[in-house]
């Protein structure tokens, strides 16, 4: 029992990562970050397109770091963490998405359009 305990658990290796997997995660993150900054700093006027591209790059980098740094995956010892993460992500997507949607509608339908910010601030 004591003998088997001293040996590093090979079965847990997937949840620890290796030097290679960390380097791979790091290089991918670095590349995704540089592309995101480069795309915005190029100063394109097509804001919708640029926003779409940097959103995709951010999601890609989140996945890269979740897999290579936080070791999420479908393996049995990772499954609990992965499931609870997916549920949290769903919850957050709802909170953010619905907040933006509700407040956008509120702004569009109820904002006193004739008032400037200066007028609003100087009003007692």
């Amino acid at each position: 029992m004591a003998g088997t305990h001293a040996v590093p658990h090979d079965a847990h290796h997937a949840s620890h990562g290796t030097r290679k997997s960390y380097v791979r995660g790091f290089v991918l993150s670095l590349v995704l970050t540089l592309i995101a900054f480069a795309v915005v700093m190029a100063g394109s006027e097509r804001h919708g397109l640029v926003l779409g591209v940097i959103t995709i790059l951010a999601v890609a980098q989140l996945v890269v770091q979740l897999v290579y740094f936080l070791h999420l995956g479908a393996a049995p010892e990772q499954r609990n963490n992965t499931v609870i993460f997916v549920l949290t992500a769903l919850l957050i997507a709802n909170v953010i998405g619905l907040s933006l949607w509700v407040m956008h509608n509120a702004n569009v339908n109820m904002m006193p359009t004739q008032m400037t910010p200066q007028a609003a601030m100087t009003r007692e």
């Binding site: 030097r19 790091f26 970050t33 940097i54 951010a58 936080l70 010892e77 909170v95 400037t116 910010p117």
Partner: protein
């Protein structure tokens, strides 16, 4: 007699089962659950920021305030620190205590560099009259980025304490468990930062 003796191995089995779960994995799982609740806090702050991003009250917006190359360097510091922490964890699994402490020290330096740059950035904004009281946009900005910064600061303190514990107690199961939790915390903060630099700085500077 048979009836009395047969439960014995069956009784030993749940014990073994308990033992298998007593290696700290449940603690680390519990810590992961905590991180997910932390994630919900950041989610709410991001939602707030998203709603208020254009509410500048006639004050400066992201385009005037954010210095992208500066934020890029901050991002690199945090990303490198996440990687060096991973290297440290590999040394922990290999049982090389001295190398682990060296990697943790390197991680600490990069993390401290990140916090130093962020504090300097905040000080500049406040000095330029773009403090959290200037507009709803800036209140939301300081709350979101400041909360992340506080987490990183807490992580640095935790790292300093853990480095001391590794030196003092060696790599016993308790210290290993704490390192596993801290590593999740540190990588998690880099994840949050990906969203911050994308949706606060890059989108704001567009």
């Amino acid at each position: 007699m048979d009836i009395i003796t047969t439960p014995a191995p069956a009784g030993a089995d749940p014990h073994h089962h308990d033992h298998a779960h007593d290696d700290g994995s449940m603690t680390v799982f519990g810590f992961w659950v905590y991180l997910m609740t932390d994630c919900v806090i950041f989610g709410s702050l991001f939602a707030t920021f998203g709603v208020l991003a254009t509410s500048t009250a006639g004050g400066p917006g992201g385009r005037e305030l954010f210095d992208l190359p500066y934020v890029g360097v901050e991002t690199l510091l945090l990303l490198i620190s996440s990687f060096t922490f991973g290297m440290g964890m590999l040394e922990m699994h290999a049982g090389r205590q001295d190398k682990l402490i060296s990697w943790l020290a390197i991680t600490f330096v990069f993390g401290a560099g990140f916090i130093g740059m962020e504090v300097r950035e905040f000080a500049h904004l406040i000095a330029d009259g773009a403090g959290p009281g200037r507009s709803a946009f800036l209140s939301a900005y300081f709350s979101l980025v400041g909360t992340h910064g506080l987490h990183v600061t807490a992580g640095l303190l935790w790292m300093a304490v853990t480095m001391h514990q590794v030196k003092r107690f060696g790599l016993d199961p308790v210290v290993r468990r704490r390192l596993a939790c801290l590593s999740l915390f540190w990588h998690f903060l880099d994840l949050i930062w990906i969203c911050v630099f994308t949706f606060v700085y890059l989108q704001g500077a567009m």
